[in-house]
């Protein structure tokens, strides 16, 4: 559904026109897309830009949605999700006067992306490694779980980092892992996420990490129902279940979106790939007053130390 392109209150003509196309799961998935949406709203309110968004409903629609925005000659068109990578490359070539940005952009070939395309990537495996370590340190059953959305390379990055993190601190721990499916719908099926998580909790896991978008809402619901712990993803998901969200592997998609808009407004937009990891605060974990009752200070200290090791290159985190 649309968000009307309305200017920030009080502002006269918008300083730029920004379009954004969501990934499966859509606005208010309280996860990945939601974070992107927050970044865009902040840009609208603070930078005085006009925004237009589209939530595509199926595969064939996605490219058409980007193209629709590009053809309106907007200043910046953002695709939220790796799935837009190839489409963005092609549209950037076709519409050289429009700036494009891709969140989770994955180059489709050896060539450099066109100069008007900014690819924003995250080192999710690094953040996942840290929450994996937190899980490994916090589990009482020596069994933890992972629920992914669709089984694709991007989500396998989360899984790989997480498993490595668990094993790093607790080599004997068992890690269950499951994926919700084979279609993009796997990111938007909370009923399925709930069942997968319940299967893991009932199998002995006491902490489950999800990288499943809206499907994760079911994972969190399962944790709430079982009184077990869960690790959120992308944004701080603490408030989804204050009883149970141990921490979240945050991914600063909102910052990336906001910065891309700010660059355009300031006239300093440039293409190229940027990869944000632990070192850049592009990914990280949540430890604050909210979850202090779930996350012991020791564990937080260990996690910080591990993060420092990763940043310093002392630990090599696998991405597959």
């Amino acid at each position: 559904a649309p968000a009307p392109a309305r200017p920030a209150p009080g502002a006269a003509p918008p300083r730029a026109r920004i379009g954004l196309v969501f990934d499966v799961g859509g606005k208010d998935d309280r996860s990945f897309n939601d974070v992107a949406w927050r970044g865009l709203v902040r840009a609208r309110d603070q930078l005085g830009v006009a925004i237009t968004t589209i939530e595509p409903s199926d595969g064939a629609d996605r490219e058409a949605a980007l193209r629709q925005l590009a053809a309106q000659d907007l200043d910046l068109v953002i695709g939220v999700g790796f799935i837009f990578s190839a489409d963005l490359e092609r549209l950037a070539r076709e519409f050289p006067t429009v700036a494009f940005a891709g969140i989770d952009y994955a180059p489709t070939g050896p060539d450099q992306p066109p100069p008007n395309l900014a690819g924003l990537r995250f080192r999710e495996h690094e953040g996942s490694f840290i929450v994996g370590a937190i899980a490994g340190l916090s589990t009482r059953t020596r069994t933890v779980g992972f629920v992914g959305g669709m089984k694709i390379p991007l989500i396998r990055k989360f899984e790989a980092g997480y498993v490595a993190g668990v094993k790093h601190v607790c080599p004997a721990c068992k890690v269950f892992s499951a994926y919700a499916g084979t279609e993009p719908k796997a990111f938007a099926d909370p009923a399925l996420g709930q069942e997968l998580a319940l299967a893991q909790y009932e199998g002995g896991a006491d902490i489950v990490f999800h990288a499943a978008g809206k499907t994760g809402a079911g994972v969190i619901a399962a944790a709430r129902a079982k009184g077990k712990r869960v690790i959120g993803v992308d944004s701080d998901q603490f408030h989804e279940a204050p009883c149970c969200v141990l921490t979240s592997m945050v991914k600063q998609v909102d910052v990336a979106v906001f910065d891309a808009v700010a660059d355009v407004v300031a006239g300093r937009f440039h293409g190229g790939i940027r990869e944000l990891g632990l070192a850049d605060d592009g990914v990280g974990f949540v430890a604050n007053a909210d979850n202090a009752h779930l996350l012991s200070a020791d564990v937080v200290a260990r996690a910080r130390a591990l993060a420092a090791d990763v940043i310093a290159g002392r630990i090599e985190v696998p991405s597959q």
């Binding site: 559904a1 649309p2 968000a3 799961g25 859509g26 606005k27 208010d28 998935d29 309280r30 939530e55 409903s57 779980g145 089984k151 269950f176 892992s177 499951a178 994926y179 499916g181 084979t182 719908k185 938007a188 099926d189 909370p190 009923a191 399925l192 996420g193 709930q194 069942e195 997968l196 319940l198 299967a199 893991q200 009932e202 199998g203 002995g204 809206k214 809402a217 079911g218 619901a221 399962a222 709430r224 129902a225 079982k226 989804e240």
Partner: protein
Amino acid sequence: MSGFVASLITLGFLAQVLRIAIPYVLAALGGTLSERAGVIDLALEAKLLMGAFAAAVLGYETGSIAIGIAGAAAAGVAVAAIQAFWSVRLGADQVVTGIALNLGAFGFTRYLLGVRYGQGANSPRFDGVGTGVLTNPISWIAAALVALVVVGLGQTRLGLRVRAVGERPDAVAAAGVSVARVRWLAVLIGGALAGVGGAQLSLPVDGFVAEASGGRGYVALAAVIMSGWRPGRAALWCLAFGLADAVQYRMQTHGVGLPAELTRLLPYVLALVLLAAWPRRVAPPRALGQPD
């Protein structure tokens, strides 16, 4: 492997099978009623989807689970009413009508979400029924409805008429019974059942997401066909599908067997193998799909 086997003999597993099966069971019961009356029910998907939507939205707006469930039934009835009007009154092609309703429900739920909440994919979160089976009123409703439909179809006046009307509507008319009225009733009641089944797709997960039905209506229809249009057996087939799903989750969890992309396909492979292995089973109701 042993962890996998052990995980199958737990109460949690049983609860999971039931939880997964409930939408299938209610949809299949509804589909059985409609099809026994001679109306092909390809619109189960739409009824589940609208039921899930209504339960979540009404549950959120009123804060009442009961109103949510009642709303789900009403939404199923609303879809069924269009279906009945088209199939019974206009004599429209029933397969096509069903597919159109599925397409329409898919768009309509997203449209309403957009109009009401400014987003096309999700309804706002609220506290639903949780994951317990015994604490979930839909479980009890489903159990009661299985018994009611089995007894109702086999041993009541309306049930007799429904069974007759799906075979020889002309004979029913000649006996002085209104064929249209019986069909309307069967389709509407079936719609209510499938709608309540939809509630199970949103209330336990505290909200509605677009396409929440996810093809379950078609699987339920497969159960109806494989049961030979008998409600008790259809419910059993649905339990079997729930079982296949649950086993599949556990296989993934314990890393048993195939990669995730393939274990997911277990229920579909099961259905196809059964269809191929048991060629030409029970004949469908003779008047199925005939306008009158």
